[in-house]
């Protein structure tokens, strides 16, 4: 299983990628949408974990563009905004996409990644 991590905060993305790696999930991280698209063009990812708010290309736009490259790719969004009631930690909207509010618990993230890849689209 390969995960692409996109967050404009390099510190966050790198640490998160490393932690996923340690738990047996191959994760690559980039800090920018364009970079993510380039990386996705040459590699195959099962899941993309995207920050919603990023300079130049936001999470939702990036999702659309990645989806055109890899229609089977699953998406998880990270956001600094959000509320317990709207997301209940993990709430799903817009089809297969799911949101997590920062700061995230690594275990919850991993569970979610597993869930979206195994459910085959519907989480």
């Amino acid at each position: 299983m390969r995960v692409l991590l996109v967050d404009d905060e390099a510190d966050l993305a790198s640490a998160l990628a490393e932690r996923l790696d340690m738990r047996g999930i191959a994760a690559e991280w980039v800090t920018d949408g364009m970079e993510a698209l380039q990386r996705a063009a040459s590699n195959d990812f099962d899941v993309a974990v995207l920050d919603l708010k990023m300079p130049r290309i936001g999470g939702l736009e990036l999702k659309a563009r990645l989806q055109s490259l890899h229609p089977d790719m699953k998406f998880i969004f990270l956001t600094g905004y959000g509320s317990e009631t709207d997301f209940k930690e993990v709430a799903c909207h817009e089809g297969e996409a799911c949101y997590l509010v920062k700061p995230v618990d690594i275990q919850i993230l991993i569970d979610l990644i597993r869930r979206v890849t195994h459910s085959g689209g519907e989480a």
Partner: protein
């Protein structure tokens, strides 16, 4: 005083003291006073003026009418009495011309003449006599024993000798009965003369005067030019007594004048001199009695004025009060709206600020979280320092703190999000606990015990979470402010009878005085004025509760504490905001 307080409209108590943006547009007391005053002036002044004018005109017209009536009566009566006398005078003159002196000296002839006179003229003639130039009665026919009486000393005799014809005053004469005489002089062939004298009783006059329609307490009588009554008067004495009224100077036509009795009572006196006689006909009416009719009219006028003025004043007072009260209500609504807008704006900016602060903090928090997590991962997964409990403990402490900070920022974000209207299914206990968590710190510092007690059977309701938060926050803040350190705030949630949910916020604070209780939900009612209170907190709370279809009530006892009871429906009737608005932003 209590009644006055009850009918005093609210605006009357408003003093135009508050300044700044949130003040009343008008000085209601002044508007009310001026509108009452001006309306009263423009409506009452013309009314009073016209009524007074009418009063004067009617009074004057009535008085003129009475004078005219009195004059007509006097005039008519004078004509009758004048005619009565002149008729008899003419008859005597005719007798003197038609009869020779010898015939008149014949008692039989004279008796026949007296009988004829009585027959032709009805009452009046008492007797007839012929008196010689020496004043001695030569012939007499009549009921009295007057034969051979000597009249040369009598004033009337002298007058008839001078004038030829004479009508006397009423006098008693030899017979001691009030009468008057008409005497006509007859010249004799020898140059001497004799006098034919008839005496008339005053009864015909009196009959005539009594038959007059003078009404009520009016008085009609004849008086001579020296003020001696010639007939009985109702008020001024018997015949031949002196009249207690001034005798006016001679005037050839009917006159009406004002007079008064000795007691000062006003009189209307009509009089007329009867030409060729010493008589003066007088009709006296009491002014007061004449004006009875006027008094009735006047009473009517005054009643009309009083009723009109009362009615007008009532209408003016009522309409001015109604108008100004409505103005005041509208103004109060406007002010309330302004305050609510300001409040909403404030809440919105607090929300925006909270959201942006939370967001800004969340990012570094996430980094700390991941870095700390990574350190721990390195320690544990890679087994580098897995056995070093101290390092693991430090990392765990960092992670726990991050989680705590994360919970706070999430709550801030929730709070900010909920300021936008959105209706959702809500477990009230969650909202109450959430709001209590905002004040937890303060409560802990002040050792205030917060307790939530949920009864069985409480269902989730559909409502506006943000409004509920504000409502609960306001009430809980009020309770905290009212309580001393170490107090107790208990929130009881239970199913409401008849559906919905009931929340009771009971504190053991200072309580609210009974006289303030009915007003605490009124806008601008505050016991904390001057201490930063706007007096709007509870009125905003009240409006928020109403907006989500609920009811709020309060009971309190000074020194015991206060209990706010909020009853919420299962769902908001006709919600205004769109349903389930859930915009997501990253």
């Amino acid at each position: 005083m209590a009644l006055l307080n009850r009918i005093t409209p609210d605006f009357w108590r408003i003093r135009p003291t508050s300044t700044g943006a949130f003040r009343y547009l008008f000085n209601y007391r002044r508007i009310w006073k001026w509108s009452v005053l001006l309306t009263a002036i423009v409506s009452l002044v013309p009314l009073i003026f016209i009524t007074l004018l009418d009063y004067k005109v009617t009074e004057h017209a009535l008085e003129q009418e009475f004078r005219l009536r009195a004059a007509r009566l006097v005039s008519n009566t004078r004509r009758v009495i004048g005619f009565f006398l002149s008729e008899r005078q003419s008859a005597l003159e005719f007798i003197v011309r038609d009869n020779s002196p010898e015939a008149l000296s014949d008692p039989e002839r004279l008796t026949a003449i007296l009988d004829s006179l009585r027959e032709s003229f009805g009452g009046g003639f008492m007797d007839l006599g012929v008196i010689g130039a020496n004043g001695e009665q030569k012939t007499y026919v009549g009921p009295f024993k007057l034969q051979d009486k000597d009249y040369h000393e009598q004033p009337w005799f002298k007058m008839v000798v001078d004038r030829g014809v004479y009508i006397s005053d009423v006098f008693l004469g030899f017979r001691r009965v009030p009468h008057l005489i008409i005497a006509v002089k007859q010249s004799l062939p020898d140059g001497s003369f004799q006098v034919l004298r008839a005496s008339l009783g005053i009864k015909p006059f009196e009959d005539h005067l009594n038959n007059m329609e003078i009404g009520g307490s009016g008085d009609a009588f004849i008086v001579n030019d020296r003020g001696v009554l010639q007939t009985d008067s109702r008020y001024y004495g018997r015949v031949l007594e002196k009249l207690d009224l001034p005798i006016p100077e001679y005037y050839p036509s009917t006159q009406v004048m004002d007079g008064s009795t000795r007691d000062g009572e006003k009189l209307l006196i009509g009089y007329r001199f009867i030409e060729g006689t010493p008589f003066l006909l007088m009709i006296v009416k009491r002014h007061a009695e004449l004006m009875t009719l006027w008094h009735t009219t006047r009473l009517g006028l005054i009643l009309f004025l009083v009723c009109s003025v009362t009615l007008i004043l009532a209408v003016i007072l009522g309409s001015a009060t109604y108008m100004v009260r409505n103005m005041h209500l509208a103004d109060e609504k406007r002010l309330m709206g302004l305050h609510q807008m300001e409040y909403a704006n404030k809440m919105a900016s607090i929300g925006r600020m909270a959201a942006s602060v939370a967001h800004e903090i969340n990012n570094p928090l996430a980094i700390i979280n991941e870095k700390a997590g990574l350190i721990k991962d390195l320690f544990t997964i890679k087994q580098l320092y897995a056995a070093d409990a101290k390092l693991i403990g430090l990392v765990d402490a960092i992670t726990r703190s991050v989680q705590r900070a994360g919970r706070i920022t999430k709550r801030l974000l929730t709070f900010a999000r909920n300021l936008e209207a959105s209706i959702e299914r809500i477990k009230l206990e969650d909202v109450v606990r959430e709001v209590l968590s905002f004040v937890e710190k303060e409560a802990r510092l002040r050792e205030i015990n917060l307790e939530v007690d949920v009864a069985a059977g409480v269902t989730a309701i559909e409502s506006d979470r943000g409004k509920l938060q504000q409502i609960f926050l306001n009430i809980i803040n009020n309770a905290l402010a009212a309580m001393a350190d170490g107090g107790h705030l208990k929130v009881r949630i239970e199913p409401a009878p008849g559906g919905g949910v009931m929340l009771r916020f009971s504190d053991d604070g200072s309580g609210i005085p009974a006289e303030d209780l009915p007003r605490i939900f009124e806008p601008f009612f505050s016991t904390k004025t001057g201490q930063g209170g706007t007096g709007l907190g509870l009125s905003i709370t009240y409006n928020l509760v109403r907006e989500i279809g609920g009811e709020i009530a309060v009971s309190s006892e000074v020194g015991q504490g206060t209990c706010f009871t909020i009853r919420l429906p299962i769902c908001i009737p006709n919600p205004k905001g769109e349903d389930h608005a859930s915009a997501v932003s990253g």
